[in-house]
C-alpha cells in the first residue's frame, strides 16, 4: 500500500493519485496559497513553524515535493534560450516497456520534461539549449541515435504565452479596485 498522495506510475495498473496529495493542508497551501514563508504557512495552517518544517521535510523525503523553480519570461532576457518540443516514437522493450529509454532520455540536461503520451507518438519531451545549433546537435547526435528511438519530430517554440499558470507579456495585475467600498 502506497502512502496517500504519492505520485505513482500510471501504466502499471496503479492509480495516478493527485487529489489525496492535496488533502495534505500544507501541500494545498503550497499550491494554492501563493508564495508563503514557512512562518506564514504556520499561521495560516494553525500549526507551529517547527511542525510546518517537519511536514515539508517529510513531503521532500516522500518525493512528493520535489523542488522549487522560478517561472521566467525569457523573452525579456537579451540572450534567450532556445526551447523545443519533440515528439519521439520508440520501440517498447520486453520487460521494461518504455521506461528504460524514457529514463535514459530524461537524464540529459537538455531535457526539461518528459511524458509518456497516448496517440500518434510515445514520448513528448521539452528541451532547451543555448542555441538552435546546440539543440539540433542534441537531437541528431544523442536523441535520434539512441537504440529504440524510431523517429523524432522537433518543433521549436517561437513564443510563450503562458507558463506554469503565469501569463507572459501581460503587465502585472493592476486591476483597479477601490481601496474602501461598502
Amino acid at each position: 500500500m502506497q502512502p496517500p498522495g504519492l505520485f505513482l506510475d500510471g501504466y502499471e495498473g496503479e492509480v495516478y493519485e493527485t487529489i489525496p496529495a492535496l488533502m495534505n493542508p500544507i501541500l494545498k497551501l503550497l499550491v494554492e496559497g501563493g508564495h508563503l514563508t514557512p512562518a506564514q504557512l504556520a499561521q495560516v495552517a494553525g500549526l507551529s513553524e517547527a511542525e510546518v518544517n517537519r511536514q515539508l521535510d517529510q513531503l521532500k523525503r516522500d518525493r512528493i515535493l520535489l523542488g522549487w523553480r522560478p517561472v521566467l519570461d525569457l523573452s525579456k532576457e537579451t540572450v534567450s534560450a532556445v526551447r523545443a518540443v519533440i515528439e519521439v516514437k520508440i520501440t517498447p522493450e520486453r520487460g521494461g516497456g518504455f521506461d528504460r529509454i524514457a529514463e535514459r532520455l530524461s537524464r540529459f540536461d537538455e531535457v526539461e520534461s518528459c511524458f509518456l503520451m497516448s496517440g500518434g507518438y510515445d514520448l513528448l519531451i521539452f528541451v532547451n539549449g543555448p542555441s538552435l545549433q546546440k539543440l539540433a546537435g542534441f537531437v541528431s547526435e544523442k536523441l535520434a541515435t539512441l537504440e529504440g528511438v524510431v523517429s523524432t519530430s522537433t518543433h521549436f517554440i517561437l513564443r510563450s504565452y503562458k507558463e506554469g499558470t503565469f501569463l507572459m507579456g501581460v503587465p502585472a495585475g493592476e486591476t483597479e479596485i477601490l481601496k474602501v467600498s461598502p
Binding site: L29, G34, L36, Q40, V44, I177, L178, V180, S181, P182
Partner: protein
C-alpha cells in the same frame, strides 16, 4: 441650489465610508481590509462569455424582465441550491445588482409612512433606500454575543403598528452573521404572524463556511410573502458587471417591473450573457474562491483574537467585525489610528449603523500574504494603541 433639493434627499446622511475612503485613497502602501468586494478577478470563462457576446453583436435592449435564457438559468439555480421553485416567465426579474432590486421592491411596496424593519449593523444602503421610498426605517439590533444573528424576540420588541416589510441580509455585510434554521424559523413565524413582506438579500449565501445556508422562503407560509434577492457580485466576483435578480410572487415581480421599465428599462445585455455562463459553468470557480475565503477567515479570526481583540468567527460572507474597545479606543479612533500608524485600512463599525459602535469591519477578501502582514501590523498597533485625533464624523 440647496433649497431646490428634495427634503428627503437633503436629509440623507452621506455614507460613513465616504470620508474614510477619501483619506485612504490618497495614502501609499496601505493594506486595505476595507474592500467590500472579492479581490479575485471575475473567472476568465465568464469574462470571455461577455467578450463573445459583444463580438456576436449582442448590444441591444433585452426584455424588461431580462433574457429568458438567463431567467431559466436563475430558476434552475435557485431550485437546485435553495429548494425554491420560481417560474422564469413571471416570477423572476433581472436587475442592475441586488441594490436595484431592493430599490424596486421598496418602491413597489412602501406607501409614504409605511414602516420597514431591518437588522443593524447592516449594509449601508438599507436605511437610505427605505427613506428614498418615503418609508420609515426601524433598526433591530444584532449583537456580537449572538454571532450577529437576528432574534425573533428583538424583532418583536422593535415591531410597531404600521410595519409592512422586513429586510434580511444573511449572511450579513458587515458582520458575517448568519442564522441557523431554528432561529430563521422563529423569524418566519414572526413574519407570518405580523403579516410582513420579507426582502431576503442572500447575496453572500454561497459563501457560508459553517453548516449550510437556508433561505427563509422555504418555511411554511413564507414563499408567498418573501422576495428572494440574489446576484453575481460576491460568489462569482462580478461586482462591476452590476447584475442581480429577484424571485417572488408574480404580482410583486410585476409591480417591480413597472418601476424597472420606466427607470432602468433592462439590465445590461453583456452582463446578462456573462451571468448565464456564471450560472451554468461557474460552480467550480465559486468553490475554489470559497475555499480560499474559508482559509483566510480562520487565519484572521485566530490572529485578531490572539492580538487581544474580541472577534467572533463569521458564519459567512468575507468580513470579520471585531470589538476594538479593549484597546480603549472608539471604532473611529481605532480605524484612523491604525491607518495612520500602521497603514492598514478597516472601516469603523458605525458606518453600518449605531449598533456597529465599538466594532470595525475588516474584509478578508485579500491575498493571504497581505492578510498575514495586516494581522502583524494590527497586533503591533493594539500593543501600542493610544487615542489619536479623529476627524469629526460627517
Amino acid at each position: 441650489m440647496k433649497r431646490f433639493i428634495a427634503r428627503h434627499v437633503a436629509g440623507l446622511p452621506k455614507s460613513g465610508i465616504r470620508d474614510f475612503f477619501e483619506i485612504v485613497s490618497k495614502m501609499k502602501d496601505v493594506i486595505s481590509l476595507g474592500i467590500g468586494e472579492p479581490d479575485f478577478d471575475t473567472p476568465w470563462h465568464i469574462r470571455e462569455a461577455a467578450i463573445y457576446a459583444l463580438e456576436k453583436g449582442k448590444t441591444h435592449y433585452t426584455s424588461n424582465l431580462g433574457l429568458i435564457e438567463l431567467r431559466r438559468a436563475i430558476s434552475r439555480y435557485v431550485e437546485q441550491n435553495y429548494a425554491l421553485g420560481y417560474r422564469p416567465d413571471d416570477e423572476v426579474i433581472v436587475t442592475v445588482g441586488v441594490s436595484e432590486a431592493i430599490d424596486l421592491a421598496l418602491r413597489a411596496l412602501v406607501n409614504p409612512g409605511d414602516k420597514v424593519l431591518y437588522h443593524q449593523p447592516c449594509y449601508v444602503s438599507y436605511h437610505p433606500s427605505v427613506t428614498l421610498a418615503h418609508g420609515v426605517a426601524i433598526a433591530v439590533p444584532t449583537r456580537a454575543g449572538d454571532g450577529f444573528a437576528l432574534n425573533a424576540a428583538d424583532l418583536e420588541k422593535a415591531w410597531q403598528p404600521g410595519c409592512k416589510v422586513l429586510m434580511l441580509n444573511l449572511p450579513c455585510n458587515p458582520t458575517g452573521g448568519t442564522c441557523d434554521r431554528a432561529r430563521l424559523e422563529g423569524i418566519a413565524r414572526f413574519a407570518v404572524e405580523k403579516d410582513l413582506i420579507v426582502l431576503s438579500d442572500e447575496i453572500y449565501s454561497e459563501l457560508v463556511y459553517d453548516g449550510t445556508h437556508t433561505s427563509i422562503a422555504v418555511f411554511p407560509g413564507m414563499r408567498e410573502r418573501t422576495l428572494f434577492l440574489h446576484g453575481f457580485s460576491k460568489a462569482f466576483a462580478m461586482t462591476g458587471f452590476r447584475i442581480g435578480y429577484a424571485c417572488g410572487p408574480a404580482e410583486l415581480i410585476d409591480a417591480m417591473m413597472k418601476v424597472h421599465q420606466y427607470s432602468m428599462l433592462c439590465a445590461p445585455i453583456l452582463s446578462q450573457e456573462a451571468a448565464i455562463e456564471a450560472l451554468v459553468r461557474g460552480e467550480d470557480s465559486v468553490k475554489s474562491m470559497r475555499d480560499q475565503y474559508h482559509l483566510r477567515r480562520d487565519l484572521v479570526v485566530g490572529r485578531l483574537n490572539a492580538a487581544g481583540l474580541s472577534c467572533g468567527s463569521p458564519g459567512g460572507a468575507f468580513y470579520v467585525f471585531p470589538n476594538v474597545t479593549s484597546t480603549g479606543l472608539s471604532e473611529r479612533e481605532f480605524a484612523y489610528g491604525l491607518l495612520d500608524a500602521q497603514r492598514v485600512a478597516v472601516v469603523p463599525g458605525t458606518a453600518f449603523g449605531e449598533n456597529g459602535r465599538g466594532h470595525v469591519r475588516a474584509s478578508f477578501a485579500t491575498g493571504l500574504e497581505h492578510l498575514v502582514e495586516a494581522c502583524d501590523r494590527i497586533e503591533r498597533f493594539v500593543n501600542t494603541a493610544k487615542p489619536c485625533s479623529v476627524p469629526s464624523s460627517s
